[in-house]
């Protein structure tokens, strides 16, 4: 039995929807890397914290994740900037191994804290204002997934606009291109670094908030997403926001459609094969600087 066109189309679009979430997570990761060459292993935990922020606002004050989304973004921005000032600032000139261990340690710390404070239970937000299904020309989609994808496009767009069209964004790009030169031009490099961490964490936090309406929430949830985020960043090109966006969509499609056609047991293998291909044929990624 060959799958009908309808199912193929549906699967393709489901891939795009989840891909947009991957893109948003990867945008934050690539931003931090692009500006200061540090790989943030705790990025999945920002996503997890975004989910928990949404969950608690919902559980304690019955506030919908969609309403608290700006607040979640702001909180994660603050957290990202604070982590930069408290921790990352001290290891900027340290050997790469120390940097890896530092962000890896942060990952363990946040997971442990979440488990300690909120128990390892699986939580979910079951009565969000975004629920139900949408039928479009014979295809059906979950409303939460559609809203999450739309949200991811908007936020990625805002980040892109900020980098391309504002003075502050230009300063950030300049810092990414050459720290010393940027400092000589009077750009406060420390501030830029903190900004990158803030925006990076906020992107992951927003992705978490968008996911919280349909994905189970638990302390380890970041682990499910971080591997894919790394592949996405590499595919898009380290440091490239636009690259991460397109790469996220490609990874989503390869995973969902490829998994559907060739067998779901290969879906992660397909994504990693794509990663290998990129590393071999175009190591700088789709839109990365060589």
């Amino acid at each position: 039995m060959s799958p009908s066109l309808e199912i193929l189309l549906q699967t393709l679009l489901s891939g795009v929807l989840i891909g947009l979430i991957y893109a948003l997570v990867a945008v934050g990761l690539t931003m931090i890397f692009g500006v200061m060459d540090i790989v943030n292993f705790a990025h999945g935990e920002f996503l997890m914290l975004g989910m928990y922020a949404s969950f608690w606002a919902y559980a304690l004050w019955a506030l919908d994740p969609m309403f608290t989304l700006p607040l979640t973004a702001l909180m994660l921005f603050g957290l990202g900037a604070a982590i930069y000032h408290l921790v990352i600032r001290r290891i900027i000139r340290a050997p790469m191994l120390s940097q890896i261990f530092t962000t890896f340690g942060l990952m363990i710390l946040f997971r442990g804290l979440a488990q300690f404070l909120w128990k390892p239970d699986f939580r979910s937000i079951d009565h969000s204002i975004v629920q139900g299904k949408v039928a479009l020309a014979g295809l059906q989609f979950g409303m939460p997934q559609l809203v999450a994808a739309a949200g991811a496009i908007v936020v990625t767009g805002v980040v892109w606009w900020f980098l391309q069209r504002t003075r502050l964004g230009a300063a950030l790009e300049a810092t990414a291109a050459d720290k010393e030169a940027a400092a000589l031009m009077g750009i406060d490099v420390q501030k830029m670094f903190a900004l990158a961490w803030g925006i990076g964490a906020a992107c992951a936090g927003v992705a978490g908030a968008l996911l919280s309406t349909f994905f189970p929430i638990f302390p380890e949830v970041g682990a499910n997403f971080i591997l894919i985020a790394f592949v996405t960043v590499a595919l898009g090109g380290f440091g490239s926001v636009a690259g991460a966006f397109w790469a996220g969509i490609i990874v989503g499609i390869v995973e969902v459609l490829g998994g559907f056609l060739l067998g779901p047991q290969y879906k992660l293998a397909l994504v990693l094969a794509l990663f290998l291909l990129i590393v071999l044929l175009r190591p700088q990624g789709l839109l990365g600087r060589a």
């Binding site: 039995m1 799958p3 009908s4 199912i7 549906q10 699967t11 489901s14 891939g15 989840i18 991957y22 442990g112 488990q115 128990k119 390892p120 239970d121 699986f122 939580r123 979910s124 079951d126 299904k133 059906q140 989609f141 979950g142 997934q145 349909f214 994905f215 189970p216 638990f218 302390p219 380890e220 682990a223 499910n224 997403f225 894919i228 995973e255 969902v256 459609l257 490829g258 998994g259 559907f260 067998g263 779901p264 047991q265 879906k267 992660l268």
Partner: protein
Amino acid sequence: MKRLWQWLTLGLVLSLALARPSLAQEEIRIGAIYPLTGAAASTGLELKNALELAADLINTGTKGLNLPLATTGGLPNLKGARIKLIFGDHQGNPQTGATEAERLISQEKVVALIGSYFSNVTNTASQVAERSGIPFLNPESSSATLTQRGFKWFFRTTPHDDLFVANFFEFLKDVEKKKNVSVKRIALFNENTLFGTETTKIEEKLAAELKYPIVEKVIYPAKSTQLTSEVQRIKAANPDLIMQSSYLGDAILSVKTYKELGLSPDALLANDAGFNDSEFLKTLGKDGEYILSREVWALDLASKNPLIKQVNDLYLERYKTNFNGNSARSFTGLFTLAEAINRAGATKPEAIQKALSETNIPGDKLIMPWKGIKFDATGQNTLGTGIIVQVQDGKYVTVWPFDMASKDIVWPMPKWDQRK
């Protein structure tokens, strides 16, 4: 000179750290290896609670309860010695499980090990026990291969997957007869660790023998971020029945994806694990209704066995949650081990091993729906059986075997858009 001082200090610190107070005589140290952190930490915590309740009941006496060791406290044949549990955290990782087994045996000097929920961790941890000559009692891992390794120190109280899957097909035959329906298209949906892949093999073998056509077989990577491709593939095959093996996170995600994509088979027959976790229904609420799952235990079995209610009340009072199939099995596992140690009258590993192999606990002294506990030469309990439960009105109720059922089975389950 300075270097010498450093070495001396180091030596002193080390010898202080390694020196242990001599063991109190009335303490029987049992190592318990469970996933206390990591993805399965919530299950691990429940199992830890169950073991601690069992240990306390043994240590303080189980008066009024028809459990083995109905004494006034401790193990009578060992002068009232008390059980002391020492926990190891395997984090869901087989290597960590083996390391923890090493640590518990060599440093904590445990006389026996119990664990480890995950079949793949039980596999590695029990290898260490086998090598060291320490009895390993496994209350809840169901991979059939575990008792096919020819181990001498490994004992398993729970029935294994071969038997559970055989139960699935007995159940199908019974339902077909009773409800006058026929199951013609089966889809297998299993995760890709040892648990899921072993189940797939047995399901395929039995389905072929009993002439049930399998129209789709999906093996998926555990801990996925999405299960859309999997569910679409199953939907395309249009099955009457899905047989599924998943741990908690994936189980939740899959049901949400069924609903999102409108996949409604006549029945979803789950293979325990995530589907029977206390968090499963809490998280899914109404969307978990009508799911069938194999179980070794259900609270409504209490109507046939009052002991179940008594023990569950104690657990509920302490931990604010009911027993489930996993915690009830861990609880039973520790009682089995303690009963054997008591009968051995000694803490020598050889004596415990011998006593375990001679275990014969009747079914009415258990909180399980088993005929009893009696190990064969491979260390497998031969008297265990499974049941099938269905989620009805937010509770797991026994629906099969029909003579133990407290409610009638709902088959087929209503389509998603026909539910309230």
